[in-house]
């Protein structure tokens, strides 16, 4: 049984229709995002299902997860805070911002908070150099930019996520 093919049949058809009929493989990047939607990473089962849908080998699908930075083969935080600390952002305080945010959260760069809610990652340029410090938040469901940030504004954001999680639990 191919769960991805069944659950997302319409969406997958629309994606494949963007490309010539004999070039279905072009849809693989979009399908990897779909696979990540539920739990934030691509499982081995997902890989073989995508391979089956697009008539690729599992190896051809798996190799993309290692190559592109926005795909994951292991579970991670629900909210990945990905801060740019490349040269232009670093010239505007990005390194200091990361250090202070990590201190506040009690984690190191690359680590996840104990409750699994938030991780802080240092990433490459996000094309927002004039609005540093800035980061993107990646969830299974997409990406969102947050520009001109401070530790305070970021902590407020994290509090909102906590509240949303707690209200779901209760």
């Amino acid at each position: 049984m191919n769960k991805i093919a069944e659950k997302y049949a319409d969406e997958i058809q629309k994606i494949i229709a963007k490309y010539p009929p004999e070039e279905k493989r072009s849809a693989v990047m979009s399908l990897l995002y779909i696979a990540q939607r539920e739990d934030g990473h691509v499982s081995k089962q997902d890989i073989s299902e995508i391979a089956e849908i697009l008539e690729m080998t599992s190896t051809e699908v798996a190799t993309l997860i290692g190559f592109y930075t926005l795909y994951y083969d292991k579970p991670g935080a629900k909210y990945r805070i990905q801060i740019c600390n490349d040269l232009p952002c670093a010239l505007r305080g990005a390194d200091e911002f990361i250090t202070k945010l990590c201190e506040k959260l009690g984690i190191q760069i690359g680590e996840t908070t104990e409750d699994g809610l938030v991780s802080v990652e240092a990433v490459m340029c996000l094309a927002a150099c004039d609005k540093a410090p800035m980061f993107q938040v990646q969830t299974g469901d997409g990406l969102e930019y947050h520009e001109l940030q401070s530790v305070e504004s970021t902590m407020e954001l994290i509090e909102k996520w906590k509240a949303a999680r707690d209200s779901q639990v209760s």
Binding site: M29, S30, L64, Y71, A127, C129
Partner: protein, 415 residues
């Protein structure tokens, strides 16, 4: 005379709405091209304008279009929206704020090269931008400005977005095409170039977002109108992305030939805390380091003039460096970036950047000797001219010029 050709949203509120864009002449250039001009005539106007690619390479746009192989069909247009060069953030503003002008540019270029399908390759981080463009494309289809038999002719065009997933190398056009085909984004051996062997092996024009956004007004106002802007070497206007240690970083649309001094001091408000400017990187992290003396500051920003400073203007992503940081710190940042982004295909780039990052870290940590500085320069030198794409070349620009032009910083850093 309007102040803006590209960043028109700063002058015309709500130009991101289709009715406002149309009221301001939107899609008249496309309609006129499709109903009254032959594809070759469109290409000729763009050739006359002198428009050159805004992604960094500066290749003449009209010439690129004229290279399309007419014995091999279908043809494709791919807009390069992979904007990933540290210091570059212009395409994002254009797509977010003036999306229809960009999409009209995609449409006109598609007509000019006979493409019935065009793709916008957005870097994965532009998730929100890609979804926004999808909405705009749907509006255009509903309004009959994209789709089958446009304006009652037999010309049809569909535009699709395609989302990447995080890889700087996909800004290189052949790596981008590989990525679009569902593979790892690694550059192809060239020639053949995309106009003869591109997407799915078919003739393909790959143009940068900013390049394409110029096209509608060039078709409306004529090639000569555009050619009269800018300098003789580099015609037209440019969105300069200004970042680093300036008071007012941001995008500034100015004619080519504007001096570094005018950009940094008049538009960018000068340096934070009014400190002295030490170095300028004109093409993002891929740049040579320019010593910011009076001669450099008074240099007009066009491709030829910046070349005289032994540097390149590239995508005009101006990173300003003052005296609060040392150049070995700057190199530590750029080398770290290229080490991470090397796709791994060519050994000199893959291994060279790995070793350069080890050496520069040692230097920056104060644990190196002058021999290490020479070793770093030598490793950089051995990457030069040995890779399939420009990433290898880019990675050594700051390293070599940093060591050559700011030796005092390295003397101070080593034991």
């Amino acid at each position: 005379m309007s102040k803006y050709i590209l960043l028109r949203h700063r002058e015309i509120p709500d130009i991101n709405k289709l009715d406002v864009y149309k009221k301001n002449g939107g899609f008249e250039a496309f309609r006129n091209a499709v109903t009254a001009m032959k594809p070759d005539e469109v290409t000729e106007i763009v050739k006359t304008s002198g428009l050159r690619g805004r992604g960094g390479a500066g290749f003449p746009t009209g010439l690129k279009w004229s290279f399309m192989d007419n014995n091999n069909w279908p043809h494709y247009v791919v807009a390069n929206a992979d904007e990933s060069e540290p210091g570059t953030f212009k395409d994002r503003e254009i797509m977010e704020s003036n999306p229809f002008q960009f999409l009209e540019g995609v449409a006109i270029s598609s007509y000019a090269v006979g493409a019935n399908a065009a793709y916008v390759y957005c870097r994965g981080e532009f998730w929100q931008v890609a979804h926004y463009l999808d909405e705009k494309i749907a509006e255009l289809e509903e309004a009959g400005l994209l789709g089958e038999n446009l304006f009652g002719t037999d010309y049809s065009l569909r535009i699709y977005t395609h989302l990447g997933a995080g890889a700087y190398i996909c800004g290189e056009e052949t790596a981008l095409l590989e990525s679009m085909e569902g593979k790892r984004g690694q550059p192809r051996l060239r020639p053949p170039f995309p106009p003869s062997f591109g997407l799915y092996g078919k003739p393909t024009v790959v143009n940068n977002v900013e390049t394409l956004t110029n096209v509608p007004l060039i078709i409306t106002n004529g090639g000569q109108w555009y050619k009269d802007l800018g300098t003789e070497d580099t015609t037209g206007v440019k969105v300069f992305s200004l970042s680093g240690r300036v008071k007012e970083p941001g995008n500034y649309e100015l004619p080519f030939g504007t001096t570094f001094r005018e950009l940094i001091y008049e538009h960018g408000g000068g340096i934070i805390d009014d400190r002295p400017v030490r170095a300028i990187m004109a093409a993002g992290a891929s740049s040579a380091l320019i010593v910011a003396d009076d001669k450099a500051l008074d240099t007009p920003m066009d491709y030829a003039s910046v070349r005289e400073l032994n540097a390149d203007l590239g995508s005009a992503s101006i990173i300003v460096i003052d005296d609060t940081v040392s150049i070995d710190w700057v190199l530590n940042k750029t080398v770290h970036f290229f080490k991470h982004e090397s796709c791994g295909k060519c050994t000199p780039c893959r291994e060279g950047n790995y070793w350069m990052s080890h050496i520069i870290e040692r230097i920056h940590d104060g644990e190196a000797t002058q021999n290490d500085v020479e070793l770093l320069h030598s490793v950089a030198n051995q990457i030069q001219n040995k890779c399939l794409c420009a990433l290898g070349e880019f990675s050594i620009q700051a390293v070599m010029t940093g060591i050559e032009r700011f030796p005092q910083d390295f003397e101070a850093a080593v034991k």
